[in-house]
């Protein structure tokens, strides 16, 4: 039975996406409840899979019982099980928030369609994480591309169309590059299964080095465009700033990370350390990561719109993750994976608390945030916790990830990058703290007379409070997930 759970997860998500249109005539509450139950089931079964995998080790799912030479294969190990739990849990929280937040330009009749897209998006994410096949990954990546563009353009506003168009163009160039890389690998190995490709690449690497170099270049750039690694980030701020708040949280917290995980899979499981070291990919990633950390923060300082600022901040935080992966040590990967989790939670908290403010006040410019802490204490407090986490103040999860990253950098004897981490942290202070200060600490007598009532539905406040608590809990007890991350990293070496 437990071997069937991954496919049941996928079918549940896909099935729900197909069922939602049938409920059109019924009260909308019914399909909302159904979706909630499905998400809960998927979360529970993912947790179950994770526990099973940690106890008994990895297992394979063969479609139609064909062996991996001719068939498609799913690999369920600590890596995929852990990240599916993360995705399912975060989406569940964001989903609860999205129940009430209809003000953001999504029309009422489109709201059902939004959930169709959301569930297909989740389906493809689970597929990418489980899949152990290069071409199958490509198909899931394409599904993810279309749905993630569509949850931006579903909002009927002028700017979303151009942002989504730019996103879709770059996405498609990236997919084509990835597919060309797959073609080059298939040309020399004759396999698409990750493990078979890896074994044959090891033996033919000196013979066909040109093919492998071109393939690794195309695939890394393809996935890099989608993951918004620094020079390829131009689509991200527009796309994340114009999307509805829930979509921004999903795109920034989850979707971008999934592509980074695909990159990790490619570098560690397909090409292997020998090829990666011979091509100096380590240095390319370290330099791109640190450039992203600095430039993303500098761009963010110049922004006037809070969501654009958060988008550029994502570029900087992706730089941290790439830096951690680029070290190619166990400590570096652990720090990077921890930062994937903590950045996902913090960015979701930031985007959703900004979403509450937009819902209530209809403002999105930074100058309108003055004194907003008195009017909306709860959401602004969560925003402040997220901001503190981004800067890396102790007691938040952001501190733990930066601390681990710093230690990993010192272990690898690359002190120069420690300076960049600290510099980037200081730059984060420059653009996050003014918002918090102007929201809470401006001495303004009039502001204090405004009653502290947030006329925001509870169903929107509970998710952001959960995320705020999660930031602090992970900051105080990082070992809750660090032990699992250690065994996740162990599967890659």
């Amino acid at each position: 039975m437990i071997e069937q759970l991954p496919i049941i997860n996928l079918l549940l998500l896909l099935g729900t996406a197909l069922i939602i249109p049938l409920f059109k005539k019924r009260p909308f509450q019914l399909s909302l409840t159904l979706c909630f139950l499905v998400l809960l089931t998927v979360l529970v079964s993912s947790v179950f899979l994770l526990i099973h995998v940690l106890e008994y080790g990895e297992f394979y799912y063969h479609f139609g019982n064909h062996e991996n030479l001719i068939g498609i294969e799913f690999l369920i190990d600590a890596f995929s099980a852990f990240f599916t739990v993360f995705v399912a849990a975060l989406v569940l929280v964001i989903y609860l928030y999205s129940w009430k937040d209809k003000t953001e330009g999504i029309e009422n009749k489109e709201f059902g369609r939004y959930y169709i897209l959301l569930f297909i998006l989740l389906f493809s994410i689970f597929g990418i994480l489980y899949s152990n096949d290069l071409f199958n990954t490509y198909v899931f990546i394409e599904i993810l591309s279309i749905t993630s563009c569509a949850i931006i353009s579903i909002k009927r506003k002028k700017e979303t169309y151009t942002a989504a168009f730019r996103y879709v163009m770059l996405n498609e160039i990236a997919s084509m590059s990835y597919l060309l890389g797959v073609a080059l690998i298939y040309m020399i190995t004759g396999h698409l299964n990750l493990e078979r490709v890896a074994t044959s690449l090891q033996s033919i690497w000196p013979l066909y080095s040109t093919n492998i170099i071109i393939a690794i270049g195309f695939m890394t750039i393809g996935v890099g465009i989608k993951a918004a690694i620094f020079p390829f980030h131009i689509w991200l701020p527009d796309a994340h700033a114009t999307a509805p708040s829930t979509s921004s949280a999903i795109l920034s917290g989850i979707v971008v990370k999934i592509y980074i995980l695909v990159l990790v899979k490619l570098l560690f499981r397909v090409f292997g350390m020998e090829i990666v070291e011979a091509l100096h990919i380590k240095w390319i990633m370290l330099i791109l990561g640190s450039a992203g950390m600095i430039m993303g923060s500098i761009f963010a300082i110049a922004q006037k719109d809070v969501k654009r600022m958060l988008g550029y901040s994502s570029v900087a935080q992706i730089g941290y993750i790439i830096l951690g992966i680029g070290l190619f040590t166990e400590a570096g990967l652990q720090a990077a994976f921890f930062h994937i989790i903590s950045h996902g939670i913090m960015k979701a908290a930031l985007f959703l608390s900004v979403g509450v403010i937009i819902y209530y006040k209809h403002v999105q410019k930074l100058k309108d945030f003055e004194g907003i802490g008195y009017q909306m204490p709860i959401s602004m407090t969560v925003f402040s916790f997220g901001a503190l986490g981004m800067v890396g103040i102790p007691l938040t999860s952001g501190f733990i990830s930066k601390f681990n990253l710093g230690i990993a950098v010192i272990d690898a004897n690359l002190i120069f990058f420690l300076i960049i981490i600290i510099l980037s942290g200081l730059l984060n202070v420059v653009y996050y703290f003014p918002i918090v200060i102007s929201a809470f600490l401006k001495d303004n007598k009039e502001m204090q007379k405004i009653p502290h009532i947030e006329k925001v539905p509870n169903i929107m406040l509970i998710p952001i409070l959960t995320l705020g608590v999660a930031i602090v809990v992970l900051g105080l007890f990082p070992n809750l997930i660090m032990d699992i991350i250690v065994s996740v990293v162990a599967t890659l070496f």
């Binding site: 353009s153 002028k158 151009t162 168009f165 163009m169 997919s175």
Partner: protein, 127 residues
């Protein structure tokens, strides 16, 4: 002469790469949004040609088993099958981006990227 021979031997691969680059050039340099989408399709065709060309085996027969050709050399059918999926994906991507272009034309009245950039920056300055 040897170079010419090499080119003729690998003409499929070269054609695939050439189409890929032509498409990429169109996507990056043209300011008309429809032309960009056409460029994407050309790019896709290049990759598909490359992928299908991999499956070719010199002197191979079409992979249909009959009583006559048992033991013959067949070409590899797998790339062609994979590319069927790829074509479907690119078609859906094209449909989605064309529908976006329709929306852009309805709201801004133009499908020229330079014109769009001008309109958007004017609007931002106005705010």
């Amino acid at each position: 002469m040897i170079i010419l021979q090499k080119i003729l031997e690998n003409i499929n691969y070269l054609g695939g790469i050439a189409l890929f680059l032509i498409g990429l050039h169109t996507v990056v340099t043209h300011s008309n949004l429809i032309k960009r989408i056409i460029g994407l399709n050309i790019m896709g065709t290049g990759v598909f040609l490359f992928f299908v060309a991999i499956g070719n085996v010199t002197g191979g027969e079409p992979p249909i088993m009959t009583e006559d050709n048992i033991g013959a050399i067949f070409i590899n059918p797998l790339p062609s099958v994979l590319i069927l999926t790829g074509i479907v994906v690119v078609v859906s991507m094209t449909v989605y981006s064309l529908s976006l272009v329709i929306r852009i034309f309805e709201t801004y009245g133009t499908i020229d990227q330079k014109e769009l950039t001008r309109l958007i920056s004017e609007q931002n300055n106005h705010d």
